[in-house]
C-alpha cells in the first residue's frame, strides 16, 4: 500500500503531441481514485505512465514517496487489470494468477496458498485448472482481478476493466470491485469513460479533458460544484442544460424565464453581463406537483416537444426558444462539449415526477429552482462565483 503522487507529469510524443499536460494529482494511501473523461483525454496514457508502460516525458512520479520515473514496470510493485483482461491463454487460471509470484521466485507452496485464497475470494476455486478460453466473460474478468490481488501490490491500476462486460454483469462486478477494494484497502487508480462507474466507485474522481486535469473532487462535489462548463456537462446523465442568459440587476434573464440571483451569484456577475446558465434536469418540476415549494421557485410555461417515461421518472423536453443559441454552442464546443451538448443545444431536458401530466405538443406549467442555478463565463467556460 502506498500513495501515488503525480507532479507536473507530462507525456509528449515524438510528433509533438501532448497526451497529458503537466498533470498534478495526489492519490492518498488506500484511496480509490477514478480517472474519467471522454476518449482521447489522456486518462489511459496517465495510467500507463503510472504503470511504467509508457515513459514520462516531464515531471515526477512518486509511488510510496520514491521517485519511480525510470523504474521498469516490474520494479514498481503495482498490479494492473486490463480492459481486455490480457490473460495468458496458454496457462491455466492457477498459472495465470500465480505467474507474478513465480517470476518473483516465491516458494511454490506459498504461491499455491495465495492463489487458492484469492480464488476463494473471487469464487474461482472450481475453475482453477481451466484455461481462459473455457471461461465466460465475467470469469475472465475475475481471473484478471485475481492476478492483481494475489500479489498484494502497492497499488491496483485498472484500465476500464468492466467495459467489455454486458450491462447486467457490469453492475454486479462494479459492486464486487468496490467491495474488494474497500476490504483490501489497496490504493487504486481506475480509468473509465463511464460516469456511472466514476460516480459510484470512487472516493474521488479526477476529470480529464484533452490531456488537462479539470477537477479532482468527490463525486458529490463534482456533480454539485463543477469548476467549469466541461465538468458540469460531462458529469450527470442526462447532462446539464445550458442556455444563454443576460444579467439584469439582481436577476438573470433566460429565454424562457427570469430567475432571481442568489446572494452568492450576485457578487460574481455585473449588470448587463452575458452568461451561460446551467440547470440540471432534476431542478425542474411539474408546477402542479411542487406543492409547498411553489413559492421558492419560478414558474413558467413551455410547450413540451417530447416526453420519455422511464417509469420511476419522466423526461420532458422543451425548446428554450433562445435567440442566442450560437453563443451557447460556441462556448460548449470550446469547452469540448460538442458530443455532450448533442445536436440540439436549444432543447432543455427536465426530469419530472412520474405523476406529471406532461404530454407531447401540449403546454405545461413548469417550476424551476433558482437556488441551483450555475453560471459560466461564455468566454472561457469557467464557473462564475464570488
Amino acid at each position: 500500500m502506498a500513495d501515488i503522487v503525480l507532479d507536473h507529469v507530462t507525456k509528449k510524443y515524438g510528433d509533438g503531441y501532448e497526451a497529458v499536460k503537466s498533470m498534478d494529482l495526489e492519490i492518498k494511501d488506500g484511496e480509490f481514485m477514478i480517472l474519467v473523461g471522454p476518449s482521447g483525454c489522456g486518462k489511459s496514457t496517465a495510467l500507463n505512465m503510472i504503470a511504467g508502460l509508457e515513459d514520462i516525458s516531464d515531471g515526477e512520479l512518486k509511488i510510496d514517496g520514491e521517485v519511480v520515473n525510470n523504474r521498469a514496470p516490474k520494479d514498481r510493485d503495482i498490479a494492473m487489470v486490463f480492459q481486455n483482461y490480457a490473460l495468458y491463454p496458454h496457462m491455466t487460471v492457477r498459472e495465470n494468477m500465480g505467474f507474478a509470484l513465480k517470476l518473483a521466485k516465491v516458494d511454490q507452496k506459498e504461491i499455491d496458498a495465495k492463489v487458492e485464497e484469492a480464488a476463494k475470494t473471487l469464487d474461482l476455486t472450481e475453475h482453477l485448472d481451466r484455461k481462459p478460453a473455457n471461461l465466460s466473460g465475467g470469469q475472465r474478468q475475475r481471473v484478471a482481478m485475481g492476478r492483481a490481488i494475489v500479489r498484494d501490490p502497492k497499488a491496483f491500476l485498472m484500465d476500464e476493466p468492466l467495459s467489455n462486460l454486458d450491462a447486467k454483469l457490469r453492475v454486479q462486478m462494479r459492486t464486487e470491485v468496490a467491495e474488494l477494494q474497500s476490504r483490501l484497502g489497496t490504493t487504486t487508480v481506475y480509468v473509465t469513460h463511464d460516469q456511472t462507474e466514476a460516480m459510484t466507485l470512487g472516493d474521488r474522481v479526477a476529470v480529464m479533458r484533452s490531456g488537462v486535469l479539470q477537477q479532482v473532487d468527490t463525486p458529490a462535489n463534482l456533480y454539485n460544484d463543477p469548476v467549469n462548463l466541461f465538468v458540469a456537462g460531462f458529469i450527470g446523465s442526462p447532462s446539464m442544460n445550458f442556455v444563454h442568459g443576460k444579467v439584469h440587476g439582481d436577476e438573470v434573464e433566460l429565454p424562457f424565464a427570469t430567475l432571481p440571483l442568489t446572494d452568492e451569484l450576485k457578487g460574481a456577475v455585473s449588470d448587463g453581463q452575458e452568461v451561460i446558465c446551467g440547470l440540471r434536469p432534476e431542478h425542474f418540476e411539474d408546477a402542479e406537483l411542487v406543492g409547498d415549494h411553489l413559492g421558492e421557485g419560478v414558474t413558467f410555461e413551455a410547450k413540451i416537444d417530447l416526453v420519455e417515461s422511464m417509469g420511476s421518472e419522466l423526461y420532458a423536453y422543451f425548446d428554450a426558444g433562445s435567440q442566442e443559441v450560437e453563443k451557447v454552442e460556441q462556448a460548449a464546443s470550446e469547452a469540448g462539449l460538442e458530443e455532450l451538448a448533442g445536436g440540439d443545444t436549444n432543447q432543455v431536458v427536465t426530469r419530472l415526477s412520474p405523476e406529471s401530466k406532461a404530454k407531447r405538443g401540449e403546454t405545461l406549467k413548469l417550476w424551476v429552482d433558482p437556488d441551483r442555478l450555475l453560471l459560466f463565463d461564455p468566454a472561457n467556460g469557467e464557473r462564475l462565483r464570488s
Binding site: G52, P73, M80, Q83, A86, A100, R140
Partner: protein, 280 residues
Amino acid sequence: MEHTAREKTLWTIGLALVLIFALIPVVWIISLSLKTPATITDQAFIPSEFSLENYKSLFDGGISESPFIKPLINSLGIALITTAVSIVLASFAAYAIARLEFPGRNVILAGALAIAMFPPISTVGPLFDMWRTLGLYDTWLGLIIPYLTFSLPLAIYTLVAFFKEIPWDLEKAAQVDGATPFQAFTKVIVPLAAPGMFTAAILVFIFAWNDFLFAISLTSSDASRTVPAALAFFTGDSQFTQPTGSIAAAAVIVTIPIIIFVLLFQRRIVAGLTSGAVKG
C-alpha cells in the same frame, strides 16, 4: 453450404486427378527402388521381382565405404542446425519488427525481402571464391551460412505475421507482473507464437534439406556433401550400368525425414491457440 450429389462427385473426381498427378512420380520412384538391376528397365509399373537390394547397397560398407551414410548425416546435421539457428535469430528479429518502433524498421523488412528475391545462382561464384580463401569451402559452416541467408527472410516474414497477431496487452501484463522484457518474450510470446515457429521451422528445414545448388557448388567431398549433391555422384556397379536403382532408393530415403518432420510439427500447429487471451 450444402453440396449436391453432383457437386460432390465432381469434387471427388477433381481431387482424385490432382492426387494421381502428384503421387504417380512418387509411386514410380518407390517401384523403381524395389526392382532388381535386371528388371529395372522393364517399364513395368509394379515390379515383377521385389528386392531390397538397392537399399542394402546404399548402406554397404558402413560409414567409410558407403556413398550414402555420410551425406545423410551431413544433410541431417546441416538442415537441423540451419533450422535451429534460423528460428532463434528470426524470432528475435521478427519480435523487434513486430513490436518496436525504431528507425529503419521498414528498411530491414524490405532488405530481407530483397535478399529472398536474389537469385542464389548469382552468389554461388563469389561464395566459392570467398569460402576457398576463408577455409569454409567443403565444411558444414560453409553451407549453413548461405542457407541461413536465404531462409532468414522467409522465417522473419512468417514470424512477423504471427507476432502481430498476439495482443500487445499480454506483454504489458507480463511486464507489470514482474517479467523482464526477455522473460515476457520467452514465457508469454514464444509459447503463443509456437504455431508460427513450427511453420517457419518446417519451411526452413525443407529449404535446407532440398537445396542442390549450394550443396553441389560449395562441397567437394563426403566431409560436407549433402544427399542431393551426393546423388549426382552415385555410380553403377560397372561404368556401363546406370545407378538408377540406388538413386531411386536414396530418393525414397531422403523423403522420409521430411515427412516425419512435417508430421511431427504439424501436430503442434494448432489454430486458435491465442483464443481466450482477450475479449474478441
